[in-house]
Symmetry: C2
Subunit: 89 residues, 2 copies
Amino acid sequence: MDKKRGKKSLNINPKSDMTYMVLNEQIERYQKRLKCPICNIEEKNAILTKCFHVFCYKCLKTRYETRQRKCPKCNQNFGGNDYHKIYIE
Amino acid sequence: MDKKRGKKSLNINPKSDMTYMVLNEQIERYQKRLKCPICNIEEKNAILTKCFHVFCYKCLKTRYETRQRKCPKCNQNFGGNDYHKIYIE
Ligand SMILES: [Zn+2]
Ligand SMILES: [Zn+2]
Ligand SMILES: [Zn+2]
Ligand SMILES: [Zn+2]
């Protein structure tokens, strides 16, 4: 096992390690793009219809309920009718 | 070069071909998820705020302008103020 690689290790032939790393990095970029930038845990599944920035529903609901009612990306105020679940798939 | 593999071919050791395929399939799933399901070309970058289904702006604009004003996913009618650019990232 390669101890240098911090992530999930798979048995890979060292000759193809570069390709493996390139593909893995691409996957990580997609995962990051699809994750809520507030919690970095849930997937993006909700939108603020004042500014159309995308987060997860849980985070928007919590922020609404705790009166942090500004978009974390652009500071636009939002109300109870301004956050909605979306279906990216 | 492996002629059986239809896609972009990279020099991969056959022993790690399975891992390579698994990673590649995952990348393809992400690409599909992020693509507009109408044109399958542009990335998802617009939303219908009647039903919160996601497409590309170009497709929604064309459909609006050619009077095909129903969501392709759920048939909800939409008007000129019901489609908006979004920022998934
Ligand atoms: Zn979140
Ligand atoms: Zn915003
Ligand atoms: Zn499209
Ligand atoms: Zn719809």
